[in-house]
């Protein structure tokens, strides 16, 4: 992350402030503080139950990473997406970017840890809420759901190949 531009936004899910870093033509969305806060709460709870789990969580904190939202579209260099806008995109209500390019959202399988983090921390919903809305639209002909890819590698390659793509990554 460089220091080109930084936006501080209110993140309602954790009721704390989250920073968005925008570098080059890729907007970055970071929730480091929120994640660390959540893990700390968990840590305190777990401490009273199991020292083995505590150790596990300590190592996790060491590697805790940011969930970053990227858009593969040059003209959206300075896009600032808030939770409401991201919900519109990932619940497939927004079908195209302001210039008419189709929005192509890519997601990981429902049980993937990064997908769970993205759903809960960024969108503020449970993964099954997304799945239920996508299933309803795909089997009733009312919308086009995001593409579910197999893994992070496929996600990265599809993202890079697709103009108008939006996806979340761990950095």
């Amino acid at each position: 992350m460089n220091d080109k531009k930084m936006i501080v936004m209110h993140h309602s899910y954790f009721e704390t402030h989250t920073k968005i870093f925008i570098s080059g033509n890729i907007p970055l969305y970071s929730v480091t503080q929120a994640v660390i806060l959540a893990l700390m709460v968990k840590l305190v709870k777990i401490y009273f139950f199991s020292t083995i789990t505590l150790f596990f969580f300590i190592t996790n904190v060491g590697f805790a990473s940011d969930v970053v939202i990227k858009i593969n579209h040059g003209s959206l260099e300075n896009a600032e997406l808030n939770q409401e806008q991201l919900r519109r995109i990932f619940f497939s209500r927004q079908t195209h970017w302001p210039d008419g390019t189709p929005v192509r959202a890519f997601v990981l399988p429902d049980k993937h840890p990064l997908h769970i983090r993205f759903s809960k921390e960024i969108l503020g919903v449970y993964p099954y809420q997304l799945r239920s809305v996508w299933d309803r639209m795909m089997y009733s002909g009312t919308g086009v759901p995001p593409i579910t890819v197999k893994n992070v590698e496929e996600k990265r390659s599809k993202f890079e190949q697709t103009l108008g793509a939006i996806g979340y990554f761990e950095e």
Binding site: S12, Q85, R87, T95, Q129, R136, M138, Y139, G141, T142
Partner: protein
């Protein structure tokens, strides 16, 4: 009419599933590579076993495999706001559905977003009927809480089913949201598919109804509020049907049927738990079918309460109490029994259901329900001729009976 044992079909399906398996493990939605076009599908095979009465075929004595749902669809945007989608559906559910292949939906959808918060849209073609929480996608087990939906509200065994699913016409919809709050409204005006699936007989109350249903289009409205993308939702739906039956036989009278079906729905979705309830009444008025020009009026009552528990990542347990009363003023069935000579339990059904589902691999699931049912109120008379008073051999069926269903499903 009822082909109870179809071993060839069973065999074909089992072979089909095994052929799909090697592809299935890694298959996801098919990104067709042109714009955002995608193809999806599902194939589900059920098995039904009852201790008394029949549900979806001859389910007594060894059970029935007459429960299959297979669909394939394609969808994509031709312009940024113009969506085209179509789905073909093959469904077989014993005597209550042997229409086999049908066009489930084929619609154009145009969306007009006003600003960040408000959208209006229109959908034309063969559209899915928006009704209650589950009607829109009720043939896809992936969107149902259990193998069979609560029968009091979503009559699966009755002939009305086919015309409840989709209709030919138009729908306008709107959505307004701010923060975590969203309001939705949909309104349908369409030609109902009430000349299919025995709906004519069901609506007119005639055993045999040679002729056609015509008249005013069907109206459906659904409006609701939802918080945090469905964490909590409250909805109200209503179907209004006013149809004329034009008899083509001098022996059968023509007449008019009016039906109003209001339904209230509420759902709370927590991380591990979901709680759902729906309550509705079907108000029916028939003119011209009874001798002496008498009007037949009736109001029935339907409701259920349901809880789902996602106790492990791939597992969900469900429990539900579901009740149906053919006449709201006679919930015990006593007066109706006196009037018709049928047993009291023909006029209600109370169903306690326990369900379990397991998504054992990505895009594969197996689900099972056990129902303990008191009453025969929503059972199919085609599958249960013993329930039909006009056949003269009506024994009234079994008052207390068990229903066990298992379904295996693959989707992409």
């Amino acid at each position: 009419m009822l082909n109870i044992t179809k071993p060839s079909w069973r065999l074909k399906l089992v072979i089909g599933f095994f052929c799909l398996l090697p592809y299935g493990r890694d298959a996801f939605s098919f990104d067709l590579g042109i714009g955002d076009w995608q193809a999806h599908g599902f194939a589900s095979q059920g098995y039904t076993l009852t201790s008394g009465n029949n549900f979806f075929g001859n389910s007594k004595n060894g059970g029935s495999f007459d429960f299959r749902e297979i669909g394939v669809n394609v969808m994509g945007h031709v312009y940024p706001n113009l969506l085209i989608a179509a789905q073909g559906l093959y469904r077989d559910a014993g005597g209550s559905d042997n229409d086999n292949f049908r066009l489930d939906f084929a619609n154009l959808d145009y969306q007009l977003p006003f600003n960040e918060h408000s959208t209006l849209g229109i959908r034309l073609g063969r559209i899915k009927n928006p009704f209650g929480l589950y009607n829109d996608t009720r043939d896809v087990i992936w969107t149902r809480p259990s193998v069979t939906l609560p029968q009091s509200v979503y009559f699966d065994a009755l002939a009305l089913r086919q015309s409840m699913i989709s209709s030919d016409g138009g729908l306008i919809y709107g959505r307004h949201s701010f923060g975590d709050h969203a309001f939705n409204a949909e309104f349908v005006t369409a030609n109902p598919l009430d000349n299919t699936g025995g709906a004519t007989e069901f609506l007119t109350g005639l055993t045999s109804a040679p002729g056609k249903m015509t008249g005013r289009p069907l109206f459906i409205g659904r409006a609701g509020y939802q918080w945090k993308e469905g964490r909590f939702r409250l909805m109200f739906s209503v179907v209004n049907l006013d149809r004329d039956f034009k008899s083509s036989s001098p022996l059968v009278p023509s007449g008019n049927v009016k039906t109003l079906y209001p339904l209230a729905s509420a759902q709370l979705n927590l991380e591990k738990w979901s709680f759902t309830a729906e309550y509705g009444q079907v108000v029916t008025e028939r003119n011209g079918f009874l001798p002496g020009g008498l009007t037949f009026k009736n109001t029935s009552e339907s409701f259920y309460v349901q809880s789902e528990y996602r106790f492990a990542p791939a597992w969900t347990a469900m429990v539900r109490f579901d009740a149906f009363f053919a006449n709201i003023h006679d919930r015990s069935g006593k007066k109706m029994a006196q009037l018709t000579g049928l047993p009291k339990h023909s006029f209600f059904a109370k169903d306690i259901t326990f369900g379990l589902r397991w998504e054992f691999a990505r895009n594969f699931m197996v689900a099972a329900d056990y129902h303990r049912v008191y009453g025969t109120g929503w059972l199919s008379q085609v599958d249960n001729p013993q329930l039909n008073p006009q056949l003269g051999q009506s024994s009234g069926g079994d008052a207390n009976w068990d229903l066990f269903t298992v379904m295996f499903s693959y989707r992409f």
